[in-house]
Symmetry: C2
Subunit: 278 residues, 2 copies
């Protein structure tokens, strides 16, 4: 069952208009969330990011007669996932509009929520490539989770073609920004390091959780630019997002990071994360 | 009536799936075309751009039992536009896919065509601003007409807020790339100049027509980088796309270009274009 603007409908009865600006112009946002035993992990952080991004783009939250959190809970319920492990995707578009780029006034935005069962699994260590596609850190959209994902799709396609799991994107200055669908962390001599948002990293919710965990676990952390050359000198690396959680990254472009094994800091962060979701 | 994968249906019966990658990830392309008395202007050039872009992204053209040109003609016909002036939009997405960035094999792409009456009018001279949003000339997508239009929407919103018609986007090197929905031309001492594709300009069909006209009319033309500072020293400027055709640009950021009147070269190009569409 799919949630669309207040109603829960079977997939085949859910109709997106051919004039929806989300479809025609990528004019919208999304959030991917994870529920553990029916509880959406870091729901407030996801909704905060969605609402501030929507505000930036000037997309109102449609009045669907209930809070977003309630809409999400109802979607889980309609899919018998109220007590299960699941993934959710919330999509918000500016809605139907007439031809042209200029957003119409008084649009009725489209709010779409889907949910699917997703069991807890520990993802195996990943490999990545350095993508030839680069990320525009100068765009205000670099820090928003928008529907404009083609650069990332191209990067991921390149990874698949080269037999890797993920693609790391450099920004226009040549520094690493993030992976196609994950944030990047590295470790240098016990210090955790992640590219800053100003280098084009998405403010990932899991990235935020890892930063909190670093503080709790007394692991020093810096947000600082990271060149590909420095990446290869790192002792450890891992990727984060809501679905893969904390996933060790052992090889980039076929070259091992550190000694090619899952590192100590990665293990500690991963264990801390597992506690958070319990 | 709307064309969707081989069928012509009333708007309210046309259903885009909530799992369409065009909607969820901006994974697709589009073309905006103009028909004059039922004949689509520069149809071959539009289809060529669409097909080469689709090939680059790995999106197949769905087998809808007819040529794209026939599908476009049928859409005009179903809307009583076979002998009228009209605008058309063709949207091609990668179609429905499972969760995730990686494009599925064997997708059935979505082919959507809409048409609306559009009378011939000469657009009045335009004003523009220099947008704060910039264009990533390093992305291969900069030269493709994809569904990822949010940067351009932000730029255009900024123009509207500042009381201008259009927004000029600079690239990451600070040079002008194009407008939010048009290509840019300037004139220096009788020489026509337009930003090169490598600076992030979309290879506009109307841009191509203007380049042909320049040759026919013996107007020298260069594709060369253009800084905002140089723009303000130009004698003339104009914008081009299929809908506005050749539109004089008289003011940028409130400052006049040249003497603030429609220039001689602009007039000649505009007259040449009018002959082409007759």
């Amino acid at each position: 069952m799919i949630y669309l603007n207040g109603r829960l409908l079977p997939d085949e009865e859910t109709r997106i208009s051919p004039a929806d600006r989300g479809l025609l112009l990528g004019d919208g946002l999304f959030e991917t969330m994870r529920a553990y035993q029916g509880e959406i992990f870091r729901l407030r952080a996801h909704l905060h990011r969605l609402l501030t991004s929507a505000d930036f783009l000037g997309i109102p939250i449609p009045d669907v007669g209930e809070e977003l959190s309630q809409a999400l809970a109802r979607t889980l319920e309609a899919n018998d996932l109220s007590h299960s492990d699941a993934s959710l995707r919330l999509t918000l578009t500016r809605g139907v509009g007439p031809r042209g780029l200029v957003p119409p006034r008084n649009t009725q935005p489209t709010l779409l929520i889907t949910a699917a069962p997703l069991e807890r699994t520990e993802f195996p260590p990943a490999t990545a490539i350095l993508a030839s596609v680069c990320r525009n850190e100068h765009s205000p959209l670099a820090n928003l989770k928008t529907l404009n994902y083609l650069d990332n799709i191209l990067a991921r396609q390149e990874a698949v073609q080269r037999g890797a799991d993920e693609a790391l994107l450099r920004n226009t200055a040549g520094n690493l920004a993030e992976a196609s669908a994950a944030n990047l962390f590295v470790v240098f001599e016990g210090v955790l390091r992640s590219p800053p948002l100003s280098d084009g990293a998405l403010p990932g919710i899991t990235r935020g959780v890892v930063m909190e965990l670093a503080q709790e676990l007394d692991i020093p952390l810096v947000e600082a630019s990271l060149s590909p050359e420095r990446l290869f000198e790192a002792d450890e690396a891992f990727l984060t997002n809501s679905l893969i959680e904390v996933r060790p990254l052992l090889k980039v472009n076929g070259r091992e990071i550190g000694d090619g094994e899952v590192g100590e800091i990665t293990r500690r962060i991963r264990a801390g994360y597992r506690k958070e979701i319990e």
